[in-house]
Amino acid sequence: MFNPPTELLPTATNQSGTRTAAVPSVGGRTGIARILLSRDTVMIYALVAFVIYAALFIPRFASPVSTGFLLLDVIPALLIALPMTLVIITGEIDLSVASIAGLTSALMGVLWGAGLDIGPVLIISLIAGVLAGAFNGLLVAVLGLPSLAVTIGTLALFRGLALVVIGDNAVANFPPALTSFFTSKIGGTGIPTVMIGVILVAIIFGVVLHLTPFGRGLFALGYSKEAAIFVGIKVVRAKFWLYVASGSVSALAGIYWTLRYSSARSDNASGLELTVIAAVLLGGVSIFGGKGAIPGAIAGVLLIGTINFTLRLGRISDVVLIIVTGTLLIASVVAPSIFEGVTKWLHARRHRRTLPQASASGATRATASGVQERK
């Protein structure tokens, strides 16, 4: 089997691999152990564990119907999470995604209401998303303004434009053939037909991030912009295109939203940005940039989506969902740092005992694992 780069997580390997004991990571682990224990792989375990739990213990969960409803619900977040992962890895953020989706939706409504064919309507809406993303890219990448502040501004601006475009109207009479396509399933599997497209987009983003020179550059960029410039990474261009990608995919999410609910309104998808960011961060992407993986982010979205769905099946209030989401999010970042603190402390204690014989500075004493060392 080939030895994949550290960020790349072929899901099959993870699930079949045996889990080794947790090992502190000061120098860094190598090879398989590294992949099996990385932050985003843990997320995938959590997702699988939860799905198994739900399938066994939640009545009615284990059915194709669940798959269908669940996936239909998470698709917008899933789509947006993909470019968001890349954006956050470069150390930036995009809070305007949901507003772009809303703007797209509003535009679709107005254009369709004005009698355009559905083809041009979709194309123009998608272009609007591209332009919105380019506008963010211009401000953040080209002018170098802080993305958190900029996208709070465009969050208001794009949602405002959605209101300007469609006002308080709602357009609902989209072609039934199209709207029913957006809720249709592939045969008896329960998997929505549109998932094919979503998976395609996911593969594109996964490959770009993990298997291309461009993706390598994004990680370096997230850690240190200056160092990235010195090795010829085109920082401005890379960030600009990421925002364009983010805008485009948000537009896709807006189109999906409009056609799935067959309702074009200015407030569609509002508040989705926080859900997406929470899911992506839960999936192991570091808010400081430089760390993260597409499979992890997808697992984050699916985990929150699945919990949400099971709670609804059990008719448990959304109150619980938001508390669970918040707690998971905090636990996911606090747990590793507590874990690290404890292992560091253990190490330190061990070393204090063995120190008299110690020499050779800078040399690493234990090659891979503190666990082995204990023998």
């Binding site: 709070i152 969050l155 006002g167 938001i322 989401t325 999010l329 606090v334 740092s337």
Partner: protein, 346 residues
């Protein structure tokens, strides 16, 4: 220190000339203030009622709660952190205020204020502890507590809402009565702004907050008690959010499970518009307060001059972007002047 050698004579190569441009950098709130003045003047010319006694009172009332929240947020942002959970904190405190009045009729109002601020302090310091002790980014932590606090508020309040009628009239009167044209709660806000402004500008712990935001690593090396200070910022922000929650209950008709939802970005935007750098280290609470005043005033102004309500949000978005761009231009120009003056100087 008893250093007794006389200093070596000043040499040409190391002479650094004083430059006055630095001062400009520290006046980041000037553009907002000008914008605010322009906005008020123009709107007044279009609709004189805008500055009628009632109009001014409304403007101040609208801004009061946002001002208090942005001042608190500014303290946190200055330390290179952020608190997204303030809307949820405000909600919980507002609801608990209603609960207090209903559960203990006749409870002294001062006690209610103290209780609200204490609750805010508790919630704020939970944020602070998680951020500092676990050493994890505040954006993630407070996004988490945004959900958790909101969930708790929902669980606690359920469908219960407390209305104006549930609270003593004297409490409601705080947001009605005026002293010299200023509503009482606005005066409270002004006092808060002044206290926090003095704290931030002229006390050692206040300046420490700037140092921490400016370079957290250096702050640690230097021996600034980073953990304690950041905790202090989150705690103060909690206290202010708590105060805002109590005032919210005084001012608005009902408080319940959803009170304060979705405030976070507006508040951060107000601070940013007011010249607080989103990555910490610079900006003032006065600036943040003016930013808040500007953002709330613009909504009223647009209504007063009958701008289509559908345009209002877009205009607010543009304003936020304009503020960021102007701030950047000012910075670049100053940096350029610095560079040129030094180049001539070296």
């Amino acid at each position: 220190m008893t250093l007794d050698t006389s200093p070596p004579a000043t040499s040409e190569t190391t002479t650094r000339r004083a430059n006055g441009f630095a001062a400009v950098l520290r006046l980041r709130e000037i553009p907002v203030t000008l914008a605010l003045i322009a906005l008020v003047t123009l709107t007044y010319m279009a609709n004189p009622l805008f500055l009628s006694q009632q109009g001014v009172k409304d403007l101040l009332l609208n801004a009061t709660i946002v001002i208090i929240l942005s001042v608190g947020q500014a303290m946190v942002i200055v330390t290179r952190n952020v608190d997204l959970s303030i809307g949820s904190i405000l909600g919980i405190v507002a609801f608990s205020t209603g609960t207090l009045f209903v559960t203990f009729p006749g409870i002294p109002i001062v006690l209610v204020f103290l209780a609200g601020m204490a609750l805010g302090a508790l919630l704020g310091s939970i944020n602070g502890c998680l951020v500092t002790v676990a050493k994890v980014p505040s954006l993630v932590i407070t996004l988490g507590t945004l959900y958790i606090y909101r969930g708790l508020n929902n669980a606690w309040a359920g469908g219960t809402q407390y209305f104006a009628g549930d609270r003593p009239d004297s409490f409601g009167a705080l947001s009605v009565d005026t002293i010299a044209g200023f509503p009482v709660i606005t005066l409270i806000a002004i006092v808060v702004v002044i206290i926090v402004a003095i704290f931030m500008a002229s006390t050692r712990p206040g300046r420490d907050l700037y140092a921490i935001g400016s370079d957290p690593e250096a702050a640690k090396l230097f021996g600034i008690p980073v953990t304690r200070r950041v905790l202090l910022a989150f705690l103060s922000n909690g206290v202010l959010a708590g105060l805002a929650g109590v005032l919210y209950a005084s001012r608005f008709n009902s408080v319940g499970a959803t009170t304060g939802t979705g405030l976070e970005f507006d508040i951060i935007a107000a601070a940013v518009v007011g010249g607080v750098a989103i990555f910490g280290g610079s900006g003032t609470v006065i600036g943040a307060a003016i930013g808040a005043l500007l953002l709330t005033t613009i909504t009223s102004a647009l209504t007063a001059i009958r701008v289509d309500k559908f345009w209002q949000q877009a205009i607010v978005g543009l304003l936020i972007l304009a503020a960021i761009v102007i701030d950047r231009i000012a910075r670049i120009r100053t940096a350029k002047k610095l560079r040129l003056s030094e180049a001539r100087d070296v």
